[in-house]
């Protein structure tokens, strides 16, 4: 319902993303093409940005903080990896390391059919919907929310990590899955493939942004904000907030899954460490730094934090945790709405930080 002008940040951002994607596609193969490292980094950043949007959708707009979104990211990642391995196996007949490691002759039965991408995608969607749907239903039905919900999701992702660390599950265990060689019949690791994956990620990012912007601007989006601000009030206006929360939660899980599917072919590996509670917490940090409840903020937060992390992890990996914790404290204390505050302080609403925080409507449980 609310109108967006041509200069609003979201339009500019989507335009920029599409521009970069087109430039990368157009310059591929020429002397102006980006280095493989840079192209790959852009692609990964785009996947992280999608992941950040998925969390912002439920945290920023619905007030539900998940500290376990890595679960859905990993789900997409693992199922994508299964497709890649099975597909590579069909073409190159190389048996994946983890099978050899376990001394297994063949793929376990549940790997059947994963060489077909549509099947893998369908399984990913169904499993994500099942997991998020069941967990969301039981949590929201019993009205578990706030900090409770956050730490239960954290426990969920932690338990999933322990499970995947086991070597007998048929998902690569400790070492995870790697050695992907072919994607949709094309060899992986070439400049062309790297650029293609990055461009695809950028386009998915633009598309997800657009879709989410449409959603939060709609009447449904208004109901999301209403749920965030005062759920009981909305319920006593005749709205089944359980259904609403469940829909958004599952949608968010699907977007996170999508991010995982984009991410894995670009890094070439997936292992249980994506399920560590730290990664899931970090997603929340990206969103907090960018500014909750602003899609643009989530994207910028993800890009900024990860760009610094990429850079530091080669330059000085041991100081990264200190910088990250410093950043969090800074954001939490000084800029409760992240980067959005910096913009707003100056131009729009000269208000105290406290007031802004109150506006975002987080209330005590």
């Amino acid at each position: 319902m609310s109108r967006i002008g041509p200069t609003s940040p979201i339009v500019l951002l989507i335009g920029l993303i599409i521009l970069v994607a087109m430039a990368m596609a157009g310059l591929a193969g020429t002397e102006f093409a980006l280095s493989r490292y840079l192209a790959n980094a852009i692609g990964q950043l785009a996947a992280f940005a999608v992941l950040a949007i998925s969390l912002d959708l439920i945290w920023g707009y619905l007030g539900i903080l998940s500290l376990g979104h890595g679960l859905f990211f990993a789900l997409g990642g693992y199922l994508m990896a299964m497709y890649l391995l099975k597909h590579s196996f069909e073409i190159t007949a190389t048996v994946p390391d983890f099978l050899q490691f376990m001394g297994w002759k063949d793929f376990p039965f549940y790997w059947a059919g994963f060489e077909f991408f549509p099947y893998a995608l369908a399984v990913a969607v169904v499993v994500t919907l099942l997991v998020s749907g069941i967990f969301g239903y039981v949590s929201f039905r019993s009205r578990v929310g706030g900090v409770y919900f956050a730490i239960i999701t954290q426990a969920l992702v932690y338990v999933a990590m322990l499970l995947m660390f086991r070597n007998d599950t048929g998902f690569g265990g400790n070492n995870g899955m790697t050695g992907f060689t072919v994607l949709f019949g094309w060899p992986m690791g070439t400049s062309g493939m790297i650029t293609a994956l990055a461009v695809a990620s950028l386009l998915v990012l633009a598309w997800v942004l657009l879709g989410c912007r449409w959603l939060v601007g709609s009447r449904f989006g208004a109901l999301m904000l209403a749920t965030r601000d005062d759920e009981t009030r909305l319920r006593t206006m005749g709205y089944e907030t359980l259904r609403l929360k469940l829909i958004v939660w599952c949608l968010s899980a699907l977007i996170a899954m999508l991010a995982g599917m984009l991410y894995v072919p670009q890094v070439g590996i997936i292992n249980p460490r994506v399920l560590s509670p730290e990664l899931s917490l970090e997603i929340a940090v990206w969103v907090a730094i960018g500014g909750r409840g602003h899609l643009v903020g989530a994207v910028i937060g993800a890009l900024l934090v990860n760009a610094v992390k990429f850079w530091l992890s080669s330059a000085a990996p041991e100081i990264w945790p200190f910088i990250l914790s410093g950043l969090i404290v800074l954001v939490v204390l000084v800029f409760p709405n992240g980067l959005m505050d910096i913009a707003k302080f100056k131009f729009v609403r000269p208000m105290g930080a406290k007031r802004l925080a109150a506006d975002l409507g987080e209330s005590r449980p």
Binding site: V138, V147, I151, L162, P321, F322
Partner: protein, 540 residues
């Protein structure tokens, strides 16, 4: 045909066993001259002499034993010279019977032990040595010799030897051998008595020994023996089952204690401020590191007190972590009470910072802790259940913490303030309770309790910068399950989660235990979303 014959043989054997007179009847007064004569006799006589010697070692009077002891040795070493008048002990040139000096008449004959008799004499010699040798090493060697032929050991020998034994380790070995010997004795009644005695201390080892008897010929032949074996097996199995159950309970209790210690601070803070402190795990870790530093300090300054570091570190660990907590509250969390989700991120930042700081300062390896005597070893109770002191330390520590925390919250003005602010912050503020101060002090208390948890688990778990992560999620689950800010809820939830973890682990593994616990908690929240002991607050 063959079967019938072996059955007949077995029956005969059993009959012989039953009818045979007690082989080593108590020698009332030793016929010394007769014994020496037999020693110089033929192989049969020598065999009887050997048996008499062994019997004497077991049941003879002190003088008789002192008299007979050299004979066995001399016979083995062929240092016994037989002549017309009797025999001479070559060593020292003494008459074998009277032990007065005399020279041998004519050319003395040194009798040779037959292959059958040799072990009998060796056994006798060892028997004397076990009871008489002053050097423990010799007694131990004698015991080794006896162990080789448990069936031949005279009945009361080992009991008496055990009574007199001063070395604890040796004594235990003698007891074990005594049981084995009795189990393999020739006299069925003695065997049955021995079976009963073994069953009195059930353990897996006892079970292997008794169940081995089911393959003994006597098991088929002698119904009384069979009944005894079966009864003992049943009794031992029951004992083992009880022991295993107790061990599970005990391990569960000690795990629950650690969980409780980790969670109680969290629960108090959560109840009071609605803040979950994700850095609680790191405060536990710091508690353990402070304990280690106290140990190192004592090692350098007062090595004599080293054993007491666990006790001396209690106030230090508490105060250091409490101070960190207070600093945290004052600088960070104070500004976040209205934004609990942001406080999650903030405390995570603190956790990240502390973990990496410790990693940089101390490195990532596990710390080495001394094991003071009061947390070493344990008391065997029943079956294979050993009441170990290190776990007991954690349990007692948790119990004490619980009592003190309870008293603090229920019985002091500070506790009253905490409860008031927990129930209704605004009202508490209105009646003049300094809520900010209460928050700060309570945060300090919660953090200090985490430090104590670190201390309590340092004798059991490995201590490294990542250790906090291992407990923290379980601790969260305790808080969720127990309900906001109730001590009782925390206790019950810790016990429940601790026990369930320990119960499931042996069946399906640690990971399955965690999965099942989480699923159970989620299911439980369907029924009671506020946790076990929720204090219902009201909306608006």
């Amino acid at each position: 045909m063959k079967l019938a014959r072996s059955a007949l043989l077995l029956a005969g054997l059993a009959g012989a066993l039953l009818l045979a007179p007690p082989a080593r009847a108590q020698a009332q007064a030793l016929d010394r001259a007769g014994l020496v004569q037999e020693l110089c006799g033929d192989a049969g006589a020598m065999g009887r002499a050997g048996a008499t010697l062994a019997a004497t070692a077991a049941a003879g009077s002190d003088e008789d034993r002192a008299w007979a002891a050299p004979l066995a040795r001399a016979a083995i070493d062929r240092k016994l010279g037989c002549d017309e008048t009797g025999a001479v002990l070559e060593e020292g040139g003494l008459d074998a019977v009277t032990r007065t000096p005399r020279a041998a008449t004519g050319t003395p004959r040194a009798p040779l032990l037959s292959l059958r008799n040799r072990p009998v004499f060796e056994l006798g010699d060892a028997a004397f040595a076990l009871r008489g040798a002053p050097d423990p090493a010799r007694r131990a060697a004698a015991l080794k010799t006896l162990e080789r032929r448990p069936a031949l050991i005279p009945e009361r020998l080992l009991d008496r030897a055990a009574e007199a034994e001063t070395d604890a380790g040796l004594k235990e070995q003698i007891d074990t051998l005594a049981q084995t010997a009795a189990l393999n004795a020739a006299d069925p009644a003695a065997r049955i008595r021995a079976i009963g005695r073994v069953a009195e201390n059930p353990s897996r080892r006892a079970l292997t020994r008794i169940s081995a008897l089911a393959r003994d010929p006597a098991y088929e032949a002698n119904p009384e023996f069979r009944a005894a074996v079966d009864a003992a097996t049943a009794r031992i199995e029951r004992g083992i089952a009880i022991g295993d159950a107790l061990a599970t309970l005990y391990n569960g209790l000690s795990f629950a204690s650690i969980l409780f210690m980790a969670a109680i601070g969290l629960a108090i803070i959560f109840g009071l401020m609605g803040v979950i402190n994700l850095a609680q795990g790191e405060l536990i870790m710091i508690g353990a590191y402070v304990t280690w530093l106290v140990q190192q300090g004592l090692r350098a300054v007062a090595p004599g007190l080293l054993d007491w570091y666990l006790i001396l570190a209690i106030p230090v660990a508490f105060l250091v972590t409490a101070a960190i907590g207070i600093a945290l509250e004052a600088s960070l969390l104070r500004h976040l009470y209205k934004r609990p989700l942001m406080s999650l991120l903030a405390t995570w930042a603190v956790s990240l910072f502390l973990m990496n700081l410790v990693r940089v300062v101390f490195g990532t390896q596990n710390l080495q802790f001394e094991t003071p005597f009061y947390v070493t070893g344990g008391v065997p109770v029943i079956g294979d259940f050993i009441f170990t002191w290190n776990r007991m330390f954690a349990i007692a520590f948790a119990a004490l913490t619980l009592a003190l925390t309870w008293a603090l919250v229920r019985r002091t003005p500070f506790g009253l303030n905490i409860r008031a602010v927990t129930q209704n912050r605004d009202m508490a503020a209105c009646i003049g309770i300094p809520t900010r101060r209460v928050d700060m002090m309570a945060f300090g208390l919660g953090s200090g309790l985490a430090g104590l948890a670190g201390l309590a688990l340092s004798p059991i778990y490995s201590v490294n910068p990542q250790m906090g992560q291992n407990f923290i999620i379980d601790a969260f689950m305790v808080v969720v399950l127990g309900g906001v800010g109730t001590i009782a809820g925390t206790v019950v939830a810790a016990l429940g989660i601790g026990q369930i973890n320990v119960l499931i682990e042996p069946l399906w593994g640690a990971v399955a235990a965690k999965v099942i616990v989480l699923l159970m908690i989620i299911a439980f929240l369907q029924w009671r979303p506020e946790g076990l002991f929720a204090v219902k607050g009201r909306r608006k």
